[in-house]
Structure formats: C-alpha cells, structure tokens
Symmetry: D2
Subunit: 242 residues, 4 copies
C-alpha cells in the first residue's frame, strides 16, 4: 500500500520534551521505576543474581529476541519506502548478530553453555509478551514500533543510569559486560532512532491509532517488568490451583 | 486491540457536502461516469446484453461477493465494539441471503441455471479486484470500508439514476429486477450507512491512513469499471503475446 | 485464496476415538481436571463463589467474548466456501445474542447490574488469552479453531459433567442457570460441530500446521485454567516486585 | 508461533525430478514459453526494445521489487528459526543493493536517469501482481515463497537459456548486462535455494496448503507474462470503454 511518509533523516538531537514519547516516558515513570527496582535487575547490578535465574532469563530472552526479529519483519512489510526497509533490515542483523553478546556475557558469568540454552519453550509471561508484540506488529507501523520501544528504552536507560551512578556495577561484577553492552553508543543511537521514528509516526497518526500506540507501549512496559518477575521466580506453566 | 471509537448512531441525514466521501465522489466523477456509460451497463439498461456476457458476469460476481463477505469478516475482527460487530454480522447475512436475488434475476433473464454458474474460477480483472479488497481489508477498518464502498456506491447510484431517468429500464426489460433490487430502500440505506461510517473513520484517521483510504477507494472505482469490461469481453487468462 | 475444502456435513455422530481432538482430549486430561477442580468453578458448583470474584469474571469474560467474535470474523475471512461463512456468521450471532444469558444469570445471582460490568479493561491473564487467540486466528483456519476449542470444550464438558453428577449444582444454587445454559442441546451441538470441523481441518493439514494446531489447543487450555485463577484472585496489573 | 521445521542445509544438488517444483515447472511449461517468447523479452534479446518500453518497465519493476522486499519481510515474520530469518535478511539486502544493477543497465542502455524513474505509480498489471504477492505472503511461508518463485525462476532460466543459445544476446547489445546479471552464479544459486525451500515446505504441507502453493505459483507465472505485456503496451489506468 503506498504511503506519503517521507524519508526519515538521522536524528541530530534528542526528541524534544513534549513529544509523544517524552509524554509516555513521563506518564509511565512508575513502570520504569518498577523495572529499575526489580530484584532481578538488582541482582545483575550487584552481581548476586542466582545462576538458575540467569539461565531462565537467557532461555526466555533468546526466544523473545527471535520474536523481536519477526516483528521487525512485519516492519519491513509495512515500510513506506526503501529507507525504512533498510533500517529494519539493519535492526534484524543487529539482533541476529550483535545482540548475542549480552547473552554470552550472562552465560559465561554463571558458567552456562550458550548453545544449550537456546531451545527453551516460552514461559507464560514471555509467551504473553511475544503474543502482545506479534499482535501489535499486525496493526500499523506506529503501533508495531510502540510495542517494541519499551524493551529498547528500559534496557538502554537502565544501562546508562547504572553506569553513571555513584556506585556503578563493579568492574569485577561478572555481569558488568551486560550493562556495558546496552550503554554503548550504538545501543543508545538505536534508542534515539526508535523514539524519533515513533514520534514521527505519532504525528501522522489519527487519535484512534495514537491511542493504540500508547496502549501498545503501556502494556509493553508492564510486560518488561513481568519478564523480570518471570525469570526471578523461574515461572512455568504448572496450572494454578486458587 | 481496544479502541476509543464510540458507538455509531443510525444516519439520520445524508452526509454533508464537504465530507470525506462527498469529496471523493466529486473528485472521481469521471470514474462514476465511465461506470455508468460502459456498454455492459448499457446492455442491462436497454435489455440487449448478450447471454454469454451475463453468464461471465454472474460467474465472476458470485466469487466476488464471497470475497466481499471475507472482507466483512475482517471488519468483524477489527470492530472496536459490539455495535460494529453486529453491523458487519448483518451485512454478511445480507450478501449470503438477499444478494443472491439480483443474480437469480439475471440468470432467469437469459435462461441460465444459477446453480451451474457459481463455481467459476476468477478471471484476471476479478482476481485483481478481490486481491485489492482483501489486502485493503488487512490494513485498517477505514481502509477496508473505503475499498468496499465503490461497489456499493456505483451499483446503488446507477440503480436510482436509471429508475429516475426519463426513459428508465423498460418494465418488460428482462433485467428490470436487477435495477429494482439495488434501488430498494434497503440497498439505499446500506449506501448511506457505508458513507456515514467511512466519513466517521476518516475523521478519526491521520493523514497517512486517510491517504490510504482515498487510494483504496480510487482503485476500487477503477476495478468496478474494469469488472464491466471483463464481463463484456469475457476475459480469460490466455497469455498475452504483445 | 481458493481452497479445495469441500462442504461440511452436519455431524451425525460423536467424533471417533482416535481422532485429532480425541487424542488431544486424552493427552491433556490433566488440564481438563485442573479446570474442573479449580476453586472458582467449585464456587459456582456449590453456590459459594464470592460476589467480587463473580464481578471480576463477568467483566473479563465480556471482553473475552468480544475477542472471540473477532476471531470468528477472521474465520469468515478464511472460509473456503459459503457454508463455512454461514457457520461462522451464526456463531457470531450466538455470542452476541444468546451468550449474554449466562452473564446475566451470574449478575443476577450476586446482584450486579450487567450494564455496569461490560466496560472493564483486560486483566493480565485475560489479555494474554485474547492475544493468544487473536494471533492463532491470523494463522490458518485449523489453528484458529484449535485455539477457540478449549473454551467451548471445557465449559460444555463441565456443564454436562456437573449436571450428571450424583450431587449436581442445587436447584436453588443462584448460579444454577449458568450450568444449565452450557448443558443445553444447542451448546452441546456447538461443541460437536467444533470438534468435527477441527478434526476435518487436521486431516487436511500437514505436520507443521497440525503441530501448531495442537499447540494452540494446549495453550488455550492453560489459559482457561489461568482465567479462573485470574477471577479467583481478582488479578490486576500491579507491577510484581519479586 | 513455534514450528518443528528443522534447519535448512545448503542445496548440494539440483532438486530431483518429481519434486513439487519440478512438477510445477513441467505443468506450466506453456507459461514459461509465453514468457520466453513475449516481444518484450525478444526486444531485450535482440537489442531493439524501444526506449519508452524500457522506461515503463523499470518504473514498474522498481516498485515491484519494493513489494518483493515487503514480502520477504513477511517471510521473516513467519520464519520458524534463525537460519530462515538470516536467509530472508540476506535476500532483502540483495534486492535493496545488488538488484539495482540490472535496472541501471537498462537505464544506461537507453539513456534514462535511474533516479528519475523510481517514483512511478503502479500500472494495473503491476498492481495486480504485487497485490497477489502481498496477499499470498499473508498466508503461509510455503504460499509466500511459491508466489515469489515465478519471478526468480522465469528471469534466471531465461538468462541462462539466452546466454547458452547458439546466438546469444550480442556483446554489443546494450541490454547484454541485464542478461548477464541474472545468469551469474549468485543469481542461479538463489533460484536453487528457492526451489529447495519450496520443495521442503511442500513436503511438510497438507493437501489444502499445497494446493494454495501451486495456485500462488501458477498465478505468479501469469502475472510475469502480463508484466511484459504491461511494459510492452505501456499500460495505464485509462478506463476501458467496451
């Protein structure tokens, strides 16, 4: 379907306050804080995260990232022009190649074989999250990117926040490389780019679509916190009994 | 996906000039005229349409209407509330039940067995039209209805225009029942309802979606004229040779 | 897209043992038992279910059924012929009209205004379930129906099982009408029809699709049990803290 | 949605006769011949193709290839594992980068500015073709690849056939580079890979899906011949008049 969306220039500055994404960031500050304060992330911060929680996380996150790539594929399919296609294709390559690194860091930190942890079935919270993303990715380009943004934003903000803290993750913290990865310029540029694109699409969206974009973002943030909880509790599908 | 779209009241008046659909009607008047003046419709008007053109038309239109129902199904899937679901549910029943009538009129007029003409394969122009609709129906609710509107509008306008003419289709014209069907109050109400809903969705859409809605409508009008041409020339898939 | 699927005759007998659905029923008997034994259903059985659990359930189930209708809409869009379209259209009408009844029974039983409980936001487990269904409904017709079958099967089996028990739900149990609704011949016929159609589609599917059908069914069963748990615990989106 | 599809090894040999694609090739030999004998391709062969036909073709094919990339994006979204994702990722890059080359060859041959011919609107036959592909790409992975295969196969077979002919396109034929591009080992490997994957997916598909795959291929072949005709006649949307 043709589109009048014009080419997207590289973001030369952080999005202005008052943008769509800036408003979302402000409105859902409590969820960013719940993410930041969750004991799973605390365990990565101080190096005490138990091995079995790390394992559960990497198993689930590997599948999650495969779903992320599938959503990028739907982004390609909705791309209004070749610049958008190129961008999505680069993001796909990034996840398939570069983003293996933080998983390898975690595996090495606790002595896990990375090859052995990439075949897990999805746990309930991970399944709910990837279903959320996959469904939003079948709505519009704006809703798709809004559903993916929480993952990018929470990780990259947490990484810079941690490394800029008075007491950052210690140099001998076995998970230190995980924090460093998401704080790299490359990762931070991805966040800026995401926000730029979401703001652009929000400007072009009508109220109904913009409302679905905000909802996709809000639920994504919830899913991020619940993903920590899943790994922290090593959630499985045992049927609840009241 | 939730939506803030409020319930749709019954249209109490024709849409105001200057509405989205009124603008489209004005902009594409030449395509409405090409539809009106096509020799296939002229043949229905004066009763001279050859039997084999009627047969080709009914064979293709039966499949086309099945595709129309499938698009309504996608409308159900995107319905923001139960009133919308109910409306689509009624439209589906209308096509499956009532809209058999004009086909039976045409078959009787030229001595065809209706049961024998409902298993045809799609000809190129019909295939192109149903693919267009099916694809638009996977975009947004607004784009879906905009792609379906040309079929409703061209037929129902042509029917009232013909029957209000100084020399309407003659009472003994074997195709007279076809004209009368699309001029019934029930059919005219469907057109009013369609326009009301498309205008409502256009109001809520952003510029990018509104532009896709207009494009879906424009191409649908072209496909309507080309559908006449297909039946008039009894088009098939014989490979062209230059 | 055309299909060679032939018309579906009315099921004249229960599906044979050894059918696709019979195998699924046997394989996941533990999940049917977890559904049957969950304290929420026990509370409907003995009439002790707390008012606030009833309210949470009806609020969520109303939204859930709207999503069910949306999935039926996608069924219309994938229908290989008009008999399938007609069947889906009847199912849509059934949910929109008849299936309001059990909700009204529950509301009356605990003194709730039905009109006041139909605007709730989805809780996490309900959101996860409807996202699961909506996504499966975008796969194939077989995967779609396999994802919807657990809801139909668990309710209708529980109803007949309860009413056939030595000590069925008491005549003065305020929820008695809920049990009776799902045990009606009409509801039981829907279950038989569903199984017939899923078995038919499984026969026509290749191993990859059949495996996705089984997975859609398995996860749907889990979601059914988790839906009870949601209403029993009046689940909300409060961020978990470890 | 999970899948049991195993990793795809590199094809070490041409697909055996009797494979799904070999059968399709045999069944639709007449369409391959209609493609091969069309005056547009003849004009590329003997160097006489008029400039305005070349221009029409490149304008339309540029948009067509963008749609091809969008279909690959849907392939990413349906990829059962990361090897499939990687393959689609590479194919996307190939179209966006390498496949500009044959267009530049054609533009240079007739003195067109490539940058000026990449903003055309789709003509009817090109629109019908991309709608066909886009819709098949929303079915299954097998149907998607089957709809894309005709483009790959017709071009690459024509190129090797022409260059192996007793009188191949002359060395000073201005379009010679076009033929050479599609005859490169890289292009021929893409065809072998495509056939390998389609055969693999056909083996795993049930009869209903396999029938949709064959139909997607058949219609794609027709669209290929009609695409030549479109460029040869410089087709536009002028409404037909009987």
């Amino acid at each position: 379907m043709s589109s009048t969306l014009s080419d997207v220039p590289a973001p030369s500055a952080p999005p202005a306050a008052g943008s769509f994404t800036a408003d979302l960031r402000a409105e859902y500050d409590d969820l960013f804080e719940a993410f930041w304060n969750h004991p799973f992330l605390r365990g990565l911060y101080d190096g005490t995260l138990p091995r079995e929680c790390v394992q559960h996380y990497v198993e689930q996150d590997h599948q999650y990232l495969s779903s992320f790539v599938r959503c990028y594929g739907l982004g390609v399919s909705m791309s209004p022009d070749r610049d958008w296609m190129r961008w999505f294709n680069e993001q796909i390559a990034f996840v398939l190649n570069d983003e293996q690194h933080p998983h390898r860091v975690l595996c090495e930190a606790v002595g896990l074989d990375h090859a052995a942890v990439v075949h897990a079935d999805l746990a309930p919270s991970a399944q709910a999250y990837v279903d959320h993303m996959a469904l939003c990715a079948r709505d519009s380009l704006g809703v798709l990117l809004s559903a993916l943004l929480p993952c990018v934003w929470t990780y990259m903000e947490a990484a810079t926040r941690a490394l800029a803290a008075a007491e950052p993750p210690a140099v001998d913290n076995p998970f230190r490389g995980w924090w460093e990865f998401y704080a790299t310029d490359e990762c931070q540029a991805i966040l800026a780019d995401f926000r730029f694109r979401v703001d652009l699409l929000a400007d072009q969206a009508g109220p109904a679509e913009r409302s679905r974009m905000a909802e996709a973002f809000r639920l994504g943030l919830h899913h991020e916190v619940r993903f920590w909880q899943m790994a922290w509790t090593r959630e499985d599908w045992t049927p609840p009994r009241g």
